[in-house]
């Protein structure tokens, strides 16, 4: 079990690589930066492959837990610990494998960028955070990784920080994600408040031991399971770019193309799907939330697919395709087809990474041009890119036996068992997906070259360091589906489904959930979905195939001008957000600041100062004229009196004698009159 004991190194190595490259800085030689940047995820990949191999070949594997250290103490006790079980095994392989290939590809793609070392420092950090997310054995470690990938997307989308748009797009990604994280956190608080722990094992065991306890009414008219799953799902909506929080993802194309591949394929956006499947014990007991998950997933899948039609930027098409495919995964998770959702996550990681890296190779060859209207006929100049891109396009379209077919089919089968409308939306989306993906393929690689002569003269196939990852991913896109061939009658070789089964085992009365359609129905559904894909491809060929160039597409735009306008403007969702949420927050901010400066500080605080000053002036006046006035008055009275009496003090003896004589006369007269009279 040696490889398992090294599990903690899997997330830590990329983190260390990131820190090392950040500290070494741009001063060191480029090969050293490359060695660190590839070495860390490479080792991580090797360890995780060995660990998963050890784990998967054990006869009765128990989830493997590894505690690193205790994070907190007291009432709230949380460890920093890792977990390897079937679910995290799948995730860790996908993340390290696809992530590593993207690293290799980046060496070529970013070869002449001045921020080489900064780029790889971020890229390693991204992978480390994603590995924390999938390997954590509790919700807190998951949340650390969850926020970590948010930070990395902020840094990498805004990588070209000297321009105006990328930093804006990075910030938008972070803040929209934060809105989801806010709900995620509330869900975690509810879990802590009830179970006093965030450890998966303990929480799920507590739920499973008493499924009815979490179904009792809790808050807002929801059961406990309903409340928690709703909160967690809102978090997933933000991270996995579902309606209505998907707006950050298309703008995330502002980052370097390998970053788009990383965000869209192996890391970040898949986190939401992983989280829903990880907490499937709770979702199984919350049918309301599950229905919501399925509905949001289905609607997003369809919605994003329609927008993808009107995009002319090759990366934007792929971006909306990602949103749509993630919707598919949520549809699967919502209808209880958890292993199918994870299976699609894995296959999608291969072909979507391939598509993005292929588009990067095209952009590289086109001297930075991303508009498909100026491409065309590139298959001769870029043979390897074309071949691999075509494989990925066929795979995502759901043509057997390539990877996308098997995973998509299982989701559709699950949806059929849950609700026919969900299935129908999924089917239409499958057709649309095939159509817009072939549109992109045809516009890029077929027809005549529509760019400038200068660009044409520079056309070249990418170096081996870039094409090699494309080939590896193409092999994966072609073959990965074979590990999860759906059960057909008695023929059951769905290795993937069996491997994942312990994690998604039914809980409580949700036991009767698994539908097993008859062989005939199963084959019929497969046939219908393949037919939809073929129909989509045929439509694309009719419009863009051969030498038609852009004319076919323009004809559609002229025929349906309103629809075209709405789709080109992506249903005006960004505009609606700008007008409501952003403008609202901003006016609240400015209004409150005015209130703060005007009322609280201006009126109350400075007002009390003015009142104090006024009162003191008044008291000054009172003091001067009333209090002091009385004092002065008494003095004045004294003085007046004294002046009067002073006039008597003449100092002339004769005058005094006269007064004495007169006084005596008056007194004698008075005496005589009063006493004797």
């Amino acid at each position: 079990m040696r490889a398992l004991d090294l599990l903690w190194l899997v997330p830590l190595l990329p983190l260390a690589g990131s820190a090392l490259n950040a500290l070494l800085g741009p001063r060191v030689a480029r090969p050293l930066t490359t060695a660190v940047a590839l070495g860390a995820p490479g080792l991580s990949l090797a360890i995780s492959l060995m660990a998963v191999w050890t784990y998967a070949t054990t006869v009765f594997p128990l989830p493997f837990e590894q505690v690193l250290y205790a994070w907190t103490t007291g009432e709230l006790s949380i460890d920093v610990a890792f977990l390897l079980d079937p679910l995290s095994s799948v995730m860790v392989v996908v993340v390290t494998l696809v992530g590593f290939l993207i690293h290799v590809y980046s060496v070529g793609y970013m070869g002449d960028d001045s921020g080489y070392q900064r780029y790889f420092s971020y890229l390693n950090l991204f992978m480390g955070a994603m590995l924390l997310l999938v390997l954590g054995n509790n919700f807190l470690v998951m949340f650390v990784g969850w926020e970590g990938v948010g930070l990395c997307s902020y840094l990498l989308i805004g990588y070209y920080y000297e321009e105006e748009f990328p930093p804006y797009a990075g910030r938008k990604a972070f803040i929209v994600n934060r809105i989801g994280d806010f709900a995620f956190l509330v869900g975690l608080f509810a879990l802590v408040a009830r179970f006093g722990t965030l450890d998966y094992g303990e929480v799920f065991a507590a739920v499973a031991s008493d499924p009815h306890g979490v179904e009792e009414p809790y808050l807002l008219g929801l059961s406990f399971a309903g409340f928690v799953t709703l909160c967690l799902f809102i978090g997933a909506i933000g991270k996995s770019a579902q309606l209505p929080l998907y707006v950050w993802l298309p703008d995330a194309m502002a980052g370097p193309t390998p970053v788009s591949a990383l965000i869209h394929a192996a890391t970040m956006v898949t986190a939401g799907v992983y989280m829903v499947v990880r907490t499937n014990v709770l979702y199984q007991l919350a049918p309301g939330t599950s229905a919501l998950v399925a509905t949001v997933g289905a609607v997003t899948a369809l919605f994003a697919a329609t927008i993808a039609f009107a995009q002319t930027d090759i990366k934007k098409v792929l971006a909306y395709s990602t949103v749509s495919q993630l919707g598919y995964m949520f549809l699967g998770a919502g209808v209880g087809a958890y292993s199918a959702a994870i299976f699609h996550l894995g296959t999608h990681a291969f072909f979507k990474a391939l598509l993005f890296l292929g588009s990067g190779s095209v952009i590289h060859a086109m001297s930075g041009e991303q508009d498909m209207r100026r491409m065309g006929g590139l298959k001769k100049a870029l043979p390897v890119t074309f071949a691999t891109f075509a494989i990925a396009t066929v795979a995502i379209s759901g043509i057997p036996p390539l990877a996308g077919f098997f995973s998509k089919d299982q989701i559709l089968a699950g949806a059929w068992g849950e609700h026919k409308v969900l299935w129908a939306i999924g089917l239409v989306t499958a057709g649309l997906t095939a159509c817009y993906m072939f549109r992109a393929l045809l516009m890029t690689f077929y027809g005549r070259f529509r760019g400038t002569d200068e660009v044409r003269s520079h056309l070249h196939e990418s170096p081996t360091v870039m094409t090699l990852p494309l080939v590896v991913l193409a092999v994966g896109s072609a073959l990965a589906g074979l590990i999860g061939i759906p059960k057909l009658g008695t023929l059951d070789i769905n290795w993937f489904g069996h491997f994942l089964a312990p994690v998604v085992a039914p809980v409580g009365h949700a036991g009767e959930h698994g539908h097993h359609a008859s062989l005939g129905l199963e084959l019929l559904l497969m046939g219908v979905s393949v037919a939809a894909a073929v129909g989509g491809i045929w439509m694309a060929w009719r419009t863009y195939g051969g030498e038609r160039g852009l004319a076919g597409g323009e004809a559609w735009a002229i025929r349906f001008p309103t629809a075209h306008r709405i789709l080109t403007n992506k249903y005006y969702v960004d505009e609606i957000y700008d007008a409501t949420v952003i403008k609202g927050t901003w006016s609240a901010a400015r209004g409150l600041f005015r209130f703060d400066a005007g009322f609280i500080d201006g009126f109350l605080v400075n007002g009390s100062r003015h009142v104090t000053v006024a009162v003191s002036l008044l008291s000054g006046f009172f003091d001067k004229y009333v209090i002091d006035g009385v004092v002065n008055l008494s003095g004045w009275v004294m003085r007046a009196c004294s002046r009067l009496f002073r006039s008597l003090q003449t100092g002339l003896v004769s005058q005094y004698a006269l007064v004495v004589a007169v006084g005596m006369l008056v007194l004698t007269g008075f005496y005589l009159v009063v006493r004797l009279g």
């Binding site: 103490t73 009432e75 920080y161 934060r178 956190l185 608080f189 408040a193 901010a589 600041f593 500080d601």
Partner: protein, 541 residues
């Protein structure tokens, strides 16, 4: 290894080393010797910090509540004693004070070029005042230090401040003074009640004393209406210091006008005196009033969180933005404290430290760029990431710490606070958590406008990256942010005993019904309360 700490009056030593330094500077140094004054003063602060570090190791986590006790007679006729001692809370705040002291001194070297002698004397005096506040175990002594600290701060803002320094200094002084006078009334009321009584209240009849633990002991005896009035008196004093909405408007002015080091100390330490006051006095001495006024305290905290964040968003001046963000962050601290449970209280107290570290660092960072360009207006910058990569990196890390990104300190505090708040009332946590979203919005927006985009202002093209001295005072804070973020356990551990003490003081006076919760949220509170009792009796259902 650290036994010697117990043998000497370590607290007094830590408290008065800066004072002694100030006296030495005053007596033996002349105005012109800027270089040697600043080196000497920084050396004194460093010695003080090094003296305080052993406290962390020598403190017995499972021992007495108050340790390193010093007791001496002072004014016996009034029952005033010279009582020093620290618990885990005060220990963390003392360490924060001495650490930020060193960093603030270092940052002043290039920022202050007039009247250096007085400046460093006032800074040293300020250190003594703040340390005394956290160490005093006698109410009278506490009050003395509380007022002593005001004076140097007043001069620091008033002499070395910005264009509106006089307005800001006077506002700061008067505002705080109003608060402390009311607090003094509260202290005196407690003093008389412990003794013969006051007005119509018959006292406990104890010997006259200002010894703080004595008041903790008689908490249950204080009649509810007297508690109510004393609580209000304390509230005004502490709420102004915190500052809680709507007593916060002195803060932006003081911050904007104060010199960098003044802002660092102001945000890092001074604001914590308010929250410290609530934790040390209001809660354990006045538990009945605490429960009674709980909804109002929480309301003001939540308003502060959201309001501070929104107003911060509208700021054009970096320092003012950080000042309003402090209102929001201190709202979190108050919310945690008034969640009145283990996670809430320990999270709130830890968040006091976290805020000191990350906001202190933010002010230092703004100071760095202010010294280069002499403006703090966000619009003056843009794209400076290319010119100052190390500065941009450290600024980003601190920004992330401030908006609560996991693996950094802010998250640990906010998370535990909200866990505590949720188990008291889920709506409190919900509304508090809005601050997390808004925090990301205003901080990242500022960051984008300062560091990203093309360089539009030619003056920014020649900016120099951090020098060694600047790295020296920024890196310790970055490392601490990571330490608390990655391994907060030692900090929670040291807070365990004091938090338990507060809960023991408060919990018996908890009202029976959930009536303490505001009416609108009652149903949620009730369902949680019901759940609370269920888990307590039978574990997880």
């Amino acid at each position: 290894m650290f036994d010697w700490v117990q043998q000497i009056p370590i607290l007094s030593l830590i408290c008065y080393v800066p004072l002694a330094g100030a006296v030495l500077v005053m007596l033996f140094m002349r105005q012109g010797q800027g270089e040697s004054i600043r080196k000497f003063a920084t050396g004194v602060a460093l010695v003080d910090f090094l003296l305080s570090v052993p406290l962390w190791f020598a403190f017995d986590r499972d021992g007495e509540l108050f340790q390193f006790r010093e007791s001496a007679r002072w004014i016996e006729s009034l029952g005033i004693g010279y009582e020093f001692g620290i618990d885990g809370i005060a220990l963390l705040l003392v360490l924060l004070t001495t650490l930020l002291g060193v960093l603030a001194f270092l940052s002043s070297w290039s920022a202050i070029d007039v009247r250096e002698k007085e400046y460093y004397v006032f800074m040293l005096l300020l250190q003594t005042g703040m340390l005394g506040v956290f160490m005093a175990m006698d109410f009278f002594l506490f009050y003395v230090f509380w007022e002593v600290m005001l004076v140097p701060m007043y001069f620091l803002i008033g002499i070395w401040g910005g264009p509106r320094k006089l307005y800001a200094a006077i506002k700061f002084f008067l505002y705080t003074l109003v608060g402390s006078v009311l607090m003094l009334l509260g202290i005196l009321a407690l003093y008389f009640f412990n003794g013969p009584g006051l007005f119509r209240y018959v006292g406990v009849g104890n010997e006259k004393t200002f010894f703080i633990p004595q008041f903790h002991d008689i908490a249950g005896l204080i009649p509810p209406d007297l508690q109510f009035w004393i609580f209000l008196a304390f509230f005004v004093g502490f709420a102004i210091k915190v500052p809680m909405f709507p007593f916060h408007t002195w803060l932006p002015d003081a911050h904007v006008e104060a010199p960098t080091a003044g802002s660092v100390i102001l945000a890092g330490v001074l604001l914590k005196m308010g929250t410290y006051g609530f934790v040390r006095f209001s809660l354990p001495i006045l538990p009945n009033a605490t429960w009674r006024l709980l909804p109002w305290m929480v309301l003001l905290s939540i308003v502060g969180i959201v309001y501070g964040a929104l107003v911060a968003m509208a700021q054009k001046d970096m320092k003012k933005l950080v000042a309003y963000s402090s209102v929001s962050h201190l709202g979190f601290v108050m919310l945690g404290i008034f969640a009145l449970n283990g996670p809430g209280l320990s999270g709130g107290i830890l968040q006091m430290i976290n805020h000191g570290l990350s906001t202190g660092a933010l002010f230092l960072l703004v100071g760095v760029i202010y010294e280069r360009r002499h403006t703090r207006m966000i619009a003056e910058y843009g794209g400076i990431s290319a010119q100052m990569p190390s500065y941009a990196t450290i600024f980003l890390i601190i920004t992330m710490a401030s908006i609560g990104l996991p693996t950094l300190n802010g998250f640990v505090g906010e998370f535990t606070i909200l866990v505590g708040a949720f188990s008291r009332n889920w709506l409190w946590a919900l509304m508090g958590a809005i601050g997390i979203v808004l925090g990301a919005a205003y901080m990242l927006w500022m960051y984008q406008r300062v560091f990203f985009g093309p360089i539009t202002n030619p003056e920014n093209k020649k900016l120099k990256d951090l020098n060694l001295r600047e790295l020296a005072y920024l890196l310790p804070l970055v490392l601490l942010c990571f330490w608390i973020g990655l391994y907060p356990r030692p900090f929670f551990r040291i807070l365990e005993t004091p938090v338990q003490h507060i809960l023991q003081q408060v919990e018996p006076h908890r009202p029976r019904s959930a009536a303490a919760a505001p009416a609108a949220t009652r149903s949620g509170a009730e369902s949680l309360t019901r759940y609370d009792s269920a888990t307590r009796s039978g574990g997880a259902r």
